[in-house]
Amino acid sequence: MSVLDVRDLQTHFFTEAGVVKAVDGVSFSLNEGEVLGLVGESGSGKSVTGFSILRLVDQPGRVVGGQINFRGQDLAGLSDRDMRGLRGNKIAMIFQDPMMTLNPVLRIETQMVEAVRAHERVSPAAARDRAIKALAKVGIPSPEERLAAYPHQFSGGMRQRVAIAIALLNGPDLIVADEPTTALDVTIQSQILAEVQELARETGTALIWITHDLAVVAGLADKISVMYAGRIVETGPTDAVLAAPGHPYTEGLLGSIPGHGRRGERLTQIPGMAPNMARLPDGCAFAPRCTRASDACRAEAPAITEIGPGRALRCVHPSLPAEIAQ
């Protein structure tokens, strides 16, 4: 069953420099226990997509179009009060920097008990019990004692575990994770990834994992959506996309990961920089950086086209393996 179904989401920022279409017609859907990797460079709109789902976009940004159906309910139509009831309860968010997302002056216990009691009328003792269980679930040893600690007494990895535990507290149906492992060591990162994957499978929680790191997504996500300049340029099952990227941008991203070439071999890079979102070029936004760009690309933005089961592309000159191209 589909937990989340986003249709043609548009989030614009009305700045003095003009309207920035940070998210421009993004669509995807997510089933129970499924993990979606939302990949892209800084400024590609992937975080704003996550914030839009929770309706946490700050001024001057606004969701101007599209539908976000969460279990058949359009989130855009909910009152602030109902939305607050969902946030942290059925839809949880994990933020990027574990050093910053826990309140430095409140003990872990205070923050966790508060998160439980904001959504359910339970006694402080019961909320505490649930907090202990959640901490144990994310692999924090002796959770009873650690509850009394302040955030600064935890290491970065431990703090992110606490943040994940807080997200899990109310048994959410959907977790939006905004680059939660970017600030962590690689070893801690892989531990947390493994744990999150197992938790999602165990509890049937759908997960949107926002990252710029294809390597992270490779081992974690069931499907990938690659974003560029506010749009999804390629989407599909993880293995298929990684094995045979169709969009030149996805290819570029894969090419920039060190390790698969030989020692001493030059890494490929995507030339140029992410475009100014307030003044996007006509036609395909990636065209100025694309090696395969033609006049057709610069004239009109390509539409997203289905090229296989669950796979779609937004490119005029896709590089496709023979069996799909036929």
Partner: protein, 351 residues
């Protein structure tokens, strides 16, 4: 868990923190309760309430410095200032027990003992006026002790109330933003563009004398400082990710503001409030000196200085000078303690 948890360095788990929180709560309640008893009615005679007050204050100070004592007492000036502040506060709290005479009990006064120099004795030799007497035969030492009490309680009370108002206004302005923020902060700017002594003088001229009136005037003069400071801190704190995270948890706005934002704005508040208590004492003394402050029946240090001022040129310096020295001592020690507190509690200096 499929992945074995890495070994965690044994972080100091504050098992005492819970106890300290409870102690703080009790001490705070005790201080509040005893202050209410003492400030309302004639309760100044209640010895028990005063002992509770002192104990509560010491506990609160101890918990504030818990774990940071070595940092606070980093030089001799910190010891001197803390000791003298402690002595002065004890003197103020127990003024009626310590002072040799109740200067406001007319039966204990003798007009014949007026304007005696320091070290004089009463006619029958039963009592020595160590700091002399004023023109009505009141012992200056006793007057100072009672005046210290008035000065301290007026300014502490005014500071706390002004802080409460300023914090609410400032944090509301920062959170609401936009036009609300602009309007509130322009009011603050307007208020702060006048010298506080001028505003206080005008207010006191309108209100008339009285302890309650000077407290109100001092609150009106001072709230804006707190509002501005808190707004600044709150603005920078509100942009931090933990506020976003709290919103992501679906907490209602008031819980985020008072449960998450406010506690993070406290350290600068503690610092400016200690410095501000000293400023308030000076301001109150100035007003009393100018004759618009406390009533004559409850003189503060400023009024004592003013009383003896007329005799300065005739060489009877003690009536004005000793209250002045007391004022200097209390203001200087509060300022120095506040200074040390700033260095100790400043989160930017914390590592």
């Amino acid at each position: 868990m499929s992945v074995s948890a890495p070994p965690i360095p044994a972080a100091p788990v504050p098992d005492g923190a819970d106890r300290w929180r409870r102690i703080n709560l009790v001490a705070g309640l005790a201080v509040g309760l005893s202050l209410t008893i003492l400030l309302t009615g004639q309760g100044f005679a209640l010895l028990g309430a005063r002992i509770v007050l002192l104990a509560g204050l010491i506990t609160l100070a101890a918990s504030l410095l818990r774990g940071r004592a070595h940092k606070f007492f980093s030089g001799p000036s910190a010891y001197v200032a803390t000791a003298s502040l402690f002595v002065l506060v004890v003197l103020a709290i127990f003024a009626s027990e310590i002072s040799p005479q109740n200067p406001y009990d007319l039966r204990q006064l003798d007009i014949m003992d007026g304007r005696l120099p320091p070290g004089s004795t009463t006619f029958d030799g039963s009592m020595t006026y160590h700091l002399g007497t004023d023109e009505q035969g009141r012992d200056i030492l006793s007057g100072i002790l009672y005046g210290l009490r008035v000065s301290l309680s007026v300014s502490i009370f005014a500071t706390l109330a002004a802080m409460a108002i300023g914090v609410v206004v400032g944090i509301y302005a920062a959170w609401a933003g936009g036009r609300t923020d602009t309007i509130l902060m322009r009011i603050v700017d307007f208020q702060l563009s006048f010298p506080s002594i001028l505003v206080a003088l005008m207010l006191m001229a309108a209100f008339g004398r009285g302890l309650d009136k000077i407290v109100i005037a001092l609150i009106i003069v001072q709230w804006a400082y707190y509002a501005r400071t808190v707004r600044g801190t709150a603005l920078s704190e509100a942009r931090k990710e933990y506020i976003d995270a709290a919103r992501g948890l679906g907490l209602p706005d008031w819980r985020i503001v008072f449960g998450h934002l406010l506690p993070n704005c406290i350290p600068p508040l503690i610092v400016i409030s200690t410095v501000q208590v000293a400023n308030t004492i000076v301001l109150e003394s100035s007003l009393s000196f100018l004759g618009v402050g406390v009533p004559i029946t409850q003189p503060s240090l400023g009024l004592l200085i003013s009383n003896g001022y007329g005799y300065m040129l005739s060489g009877q310096y003690w009536m004005s000078m000793y209250p002045g020295v007391a004022l200097l001592a209390i203001v200087a020690s509060i300022n120095m303690v506040g200074d040390r507190l700033r260095d100790t509690l400043n989160p930017r200096l914390q590592k």
